[in-house]
């Protein structure tokens, strides 16, 4: 037996009678059959919503940023809220695929592919927002460090430039990690397919044959990717939080922000994983692979991150009071009783109160409760970012600059359109690529042994 616990041949995490290797191939390949009308109906609705979002964006390009309801002091508003929200969603995928891999948490194997896909698509969605938000997206390349004729370089002391580096690194490394994980599975698809499909999969599988040499280097590289992705995922949301924490705005200028954001990101990411995987499990009949214990484990992680988040909320209030700084105190009080107070209390309910139901095991495996709480968590986490950005900017140091922001149809349409963009990518993915990892699930189920030559 190797020291690498991942390859242990003891019974794996699959409940209710272990599937065999051939079962795994059959069940996963079955998810790639030609989809029915229901699927295309959903895709059409989502495509319509996306088209609405694109229309709103075109209006903004044509008429200018005023369409997004932006005016002093509310220059960040919904776009940056949604940007941070989507970056946060991406974090659970990398947590499952890299951090839980390093910890040898074997329950991750059947859910990691779906959540990793979610990461890629969430980051792709998030990446749209700085560009939409900045206006004049035709000069978005100014963000990239390149030699210009005046030798003007980006200001590397600005957290916004750190953000460009962090997000683009995160997208690149996640995509590479994801693609490398897919290669042996695509080889399995190739071997089961015929005709044109076979040729496409053969091209994408890069000639993978599962030889000892390929596996040896593959496993080493995979471990290294996981080790690189782990500090990266923590750094990315820390950098995003510094977009705020480096500014002197009351309520933002805090060392609390990095862990606060990372925790919130994992919290919302797990909620999104549940929202995607529960219907997927139902429609693809993946019950032997995504069992109650997987839901239970994810619900526990949601509970833990919720408790940590509640602690951070308490810290936020304590620091505002303990600082003795009138502007800090006023900004915090404004969140509680000001014009945005309903959204603040909605956030507290969704993030700190609703997940407490997961203290009961029955709730952790009860699909309707899980689903409802996950949706509440997403709403709560979106409003958490809203409550940092909008009331924060609304109530600065100087009463003359106070200002209330009200959403407009255009920026609301773009935000809703971003959800459609995310779901259209995810729904397309699960129909052309294995949404459950064939190889990793097989690794955790008992390997076929005859037993004549016991070892």
């Amino acid at each position: 037996m190797s020291q690498d616990g991942r390859e242990a041949t003891s019974p794996g995490p699959i409940a209710g009678g272990s599937p065999t290797f051939a079962d795994v191939n059959r069940d996963v390949i079955r998810t790639l059959e030609f989809p029915g009308n229901l699927y295309f109906a959903w895709m059409s609705i989502i495509a319509l919503i996306l088209a609405g979002g694109i229309l709103c964006w075109l209006l903004q390009v044509y008429y200018g940023m005023g369409m997004a309801g932006k005016r002093n002091p509310q220059m960040w508003a919904m776009y940056i809220t949604t940007f941070v929200f989507w970056i946060g969603i991406g974090h659970a995928g990398t947590l499952i695929s890299a951090i839980l891999y390093l910890f040898r948490a074997r329950w991750r194997t059947s859910i990691y592919r779906g959540s990793e896909a979610m990461t890629i698509f969430a980051v792709l969605t998030a990446g749209l927002f700085p560009v939409i938000h900045a206006g004049r997206m035709w000069v978005a390349y100014w963000l990239i460090p390149y030699p210009s004729e005046r030798f003007l370089w980006p200001n590397f002391r600005s957290p916004l430039v750190w953000d460009v580096f962090a997000i683009s690194t995160y997208l690149t490394i996640s995509a590479v990690f994801f693609a490398v994980g897919l290669v042996p599975d695509i080889a399995a698809l190739r071997d089961a397919a015929t005709g044109v499909k076979r040729r496409i999969y053969a091209l994408l599988a890069l000639g993978w044959q599962g030889s000892d040499r390929q596996w040896r280097h593959y496993r080493r590289a995979y471990g290294l990717f996981a080790s690189l992705a782990t500090p990266l995922v923590v750094s990315v949301h820390s950098v995003v939080s510094w977009d705020f924490a480096m500014a002197l705005v009351p309520g933002w200028h805090s060392t609390l922000f990095a862990p606060f954001f990372v925790d919130g990101a994992i919290f919302s990411g797990f909620a999104m994983v549940l929202i995607l995987l529960i219907p997927m499990r139902y429609y693809f009949n993946l019950y032997p692979y995504i069992a109650d214990r997987h839901l239970d484990a994810m619900a526990k992680l949601i509970l833990v991150t919720s408790l940590v988040l509640t602690y951070f909320y308490a810290c936020e209030g304590f620091v505002a009071w303990y600082s003795g700084e009138p502007a800090e105190r006023a900004s915090y009080l404004f969140k509680w009783v000001g014009v945005y107070a309903p959204w603040w209390w909605l956030q507290i309910f969704c993030n700190s109160v609703a997940p407490l139901v997961f203290f009961w095991r029955r709730a952790r495996v009860h699909v309707p409760i899980l689903y409802a709480v996950s949706i509440l968590v997403l709403i709560g986490m979106w409003f958490e970012r809203f409550n940092i950005i909008v009331p924060g900017l609304a109530h600065g140091f100087y009463p003359y600059t106070f200002g209330t922001y009200v959403p407009t149809p255009v920026d609301t349409g773009i935000v809703i359109g971003s959800f459609a963009w995310f779901f259209i990518l995810f729904l397309a993915f699960i129909r052309v690529m294995p949404s459950v990892s064939i190889v990793e699930v097989k690794e955790t189920i008992p390997h076929p042994v005859r037993g004549a030559h016991a070892h």
Binding site: A22, R216, A221, L224, P231, L232, I438, E443, R450, A452
Partner: protein
Amino acid sequence: MAEAAGALGVFAHVDTTTHAIRELRAKGFGAISTYSPVPIPEFEEALTGHGLPRSPVRLFTLVGALTGTASGFALTIWSSLKWDLITGGKPVVSIPPFVVIAFEMTILFGGLCTLLGLLITARLPRLRGSQRYDPRFTVDRFGVEVACRPDQVSTVEAILRQAGAEEVRG
């Protein structure tokens, strides 16, 4: 084009496959490769006769990561010096914020070089793999392929059969 002389055994079990590899090595056959749907450390141990061999991919990662760190600092420091305007009373070369850029570049270059290392060491992508490859090797069968002299083929086939191969071909 005909494949070089050799034989392939298709196995249904991990332990019979490992046994076959050990038998072949004991008889002095060295050019053995295995095929499996999942990584099987027992195969690698049987192939080498000792612990798992080290993969050179890690060297690519190290070199890439260090290059990333160096280029992150180089880019930030060099470009700050190109326009050495003091802002906010901070030094022109202010290291703490540059650490963020250097860190991200470390991960970026490290990851890309790991990918490069994987492609080079595992010889991917390849247009033509082994012609003896069987599609069942991505489902639930294990393969042992031996390259040998034409006159040894029958010996190899006998060993594979005796070890419990379901199917043996040249």
